[in-house]
């Protein structure tokens, strides 16, 4: 018989959501369904699946049971009605945008975004004749002032880059909804353990699962989660609400209600873009999510310890981490990130580009690479790597100084991380 209803806690859901025992074999771990396609029971079943009259598996470019288990787990943890996973975070974002936008539309986005996202919005969207305005994420008025009658989406990150801006999600949700537009949040740096944007009024959350969700640095992937609350039938989103020529006249929002956007995202956009997540990667993300709350606690505790150490050192000009009490984002952090401001932040070395290179070369525990959110601590010097082609003036405009170092703090012993950073700082002084 059915168990009595209960609201389970985050740790329980991180381990259980989306992964009931496999009914045919009883397998307790989620099986890796390494298959491209699925045999239909009969012709009627096949027709019902393709007509979306029944929840059915047809082809792993569109759905896969292992991927679906991951989608359900992250949707559960974010508090959404469902999720659709993709081959990467950028693929997830592309698909989320393509599902709701048309040529001639306008997007307002934070100017403090991940570089890959900036490129995607600036160049890919403009190729599709979708207009864009970047605004200072800290000024709610700037978002409101940028709105036009064509604005169909507001987009930002829970924790921005490189300044560690904390977004005022609740205020921006009001700005968006007053305009009849959804608010989409990239929650990669916070994860649903530290912040759940949908609970503050955001409509859609996107993730690069590659980062803290996996936590192991083995798999590239992304996911879109929908709160299921936005009214796509408000007259501004014919692309979601009107009968779809790409699906025999189906009106996704009317037919599937709160699930309409996700259904269209899967049945049309994922089908047509083809950026499906591999089942093995979904399995690895499930393993990651099981320990997400435990890891995030360790990440945050280490990040605070390392940031405090760096802030107290006179070879460091400034530390831009919202987890420090002198951060300009302290009030927003206390509201949106009471369990911690994540574990990715930047600091500035006195001594510019040369100091940055010397510092990184002297480290032993921090891995020098272009990723974040791994259980292992990571370091990168943007001025000599990802932003190498920029002049000092251009770096400043991007919020990156010549001596800026970005750290992603792992779950090693904090003492060992500080020991390692001391070696880097000593090398800078000896130069």
């Amino acid at each position: 018989m059915a168990a009595p209803p209960r609201s389970f806690g985050f740790h329980t859901r991180a381990v259980h959501a989306g992964a009931r025992p496999e009914p045919v074999t009883g397998a307790r771990a989620i099986p890796i369904f390494q298959t491209t396609s699925y045999v239909f029971e009969d012709a009627d079943a096949a027709a019902a699946y393709f007509n979306l009259q029944e929840y059915g598996n047809t082809y792993s470019r569109i759905m896969n049971p292992t991927v679906a288990a991951f989608e359900e787990r992250i949707a559960n943890l974010e508090g959404g009605v469902g999720g659709v996973a993709f081959a990467s975070g950028l693929a997830a974002q592309t698909a989320a945008l393509f599902t709701m936008l048309e040529p001639g539309d306008h997007v307002v986005a934070s100017s403090a975004l991940y570089g890959g996202t900036v490129t995607q919005l600036k160049h890919l969207l403009r190729k599709l004749s979708i207009d864009l305005t970047f605004v200072d994420p800290d000024r709610v008025d700037a978002w409101r002032d940028a709105l036009t009658d064509k604005t169909k989406l507001l987009f930002g990150e829970t924790i921005g880059n490189p300044a560690g801006n904390v977004l005022d999600i609740e205020a921006l949700a009001h700005v968006a909804h007053d305009h009849g537009a959804p608010l989409m949040i990239d929650n990669t740096f916070a994860t649903p353990y530290l912040c759940r944007p949908l609970e503050w009024g955001a409509d859609i959350v996107v993730h690069s699962a590659t980062k803290f969700i996996g936590g192991h640095g083995t798999s590239i992937g992304g996911v879109v989660v929908d709160a299921g609350r936005f009214d796509w039938s408000n007259g501004r989103y014919a692309i979601v609400a009107a009968p779809s020529p790409a699906y025999h006249g189906l009106a996704f929002h009317e037919t599937f209600g709160m699930y309409g956007y996700l259904m269209k995202l899967r049945a049309e956009t994922l089908r047509d873009l083809g950026a499906a997540l591999a089942p093995l990667n979904a399995f690895l993300f499930m393993q990651g999510l099981e320990t997400l709350p435990l890891r995030m606690k360790a990440h945050v505790a280490n990040a605070v310890a390392v940031a405090q150490f760096l802030a107290a050192d006179n070879r460091v000009e400034r530390v831009r981490y919202a987890g420090l009490d002198d951060s300009p984002y302290r009030a927003l952090r206390d509201k949106y990130l009471p369990r911690g401001a994540g574990a990715v932040f930047c600091f500035d070395l006195a001594g510019g580009r040369d100091a940055g290179r010397t510092f990184i070369a002297a480290l032993n525990i921090f891995s020098h690479l272009a990723n974040v959110g791994d259980a292992k601590s990571l370091v990168i010097h943007p001025a000599s790597t990802t932003h190498r082609q920029l002049s000092d003036a251009e770096l400043t405009a991007a919020g990156i100084g010549p001596g800026t170092i970005r750290l992603s703090i792992g779950i090693e012993d904090a003492d060992d991380l500080i020991w390692d950073l001391k070696q880097g700082l000593a090398a800078v002084r000896n130069e």
Binding site: A17, R20, G26, E54, Y55, G56, V67, A75, N76, V81
Partner: protein, 162 residues
Amino acid sequence: MSEVLIKPYQDAAVIQRLVSGARTIAMVGLSANPLRPSNFVGFYLLRHGFRVIPVNPREREVLGQRSVENLAQIDVPVDIVDVFREPSVVPQIAADAAAIGAKALWLQFGVVHEAGAAQAREAGLDVVMDLCLKIEHARYLGRMHWLGFSTGVISARRRPPV
């Protein structure tokens, strides 16, 4: 209507009892148009072995099932009266459902009528409001999770294949 007034009509234990115990469902307002939400629900319920009786005076037959003009014309026991109509007609349907001895009144998404729901409950019917019968079946007994939707179901019990 506020969430506070709807919540008493979204009891998970009642919903699970209805989706697993019901056999015969009278669908008031079941459309013959295959692109209408009611048609999706009717198709799904038939596929999962329910007896579906269309209640639609404008159709002779829907999804291969003979349609009746109103609930009073149904001469078999009805477990659930599932409503796809404008909210204003809910009190009349609630009265008709009670009159034929239906066990439950299910009001689909947007079919929200506080007085009508209370009236059916006073007449002894289980009442579910502002939820979809197909989705709730798929959540507890079906395959909603195959498409990445959040069922909210947390359980380590093994269940039969679907």
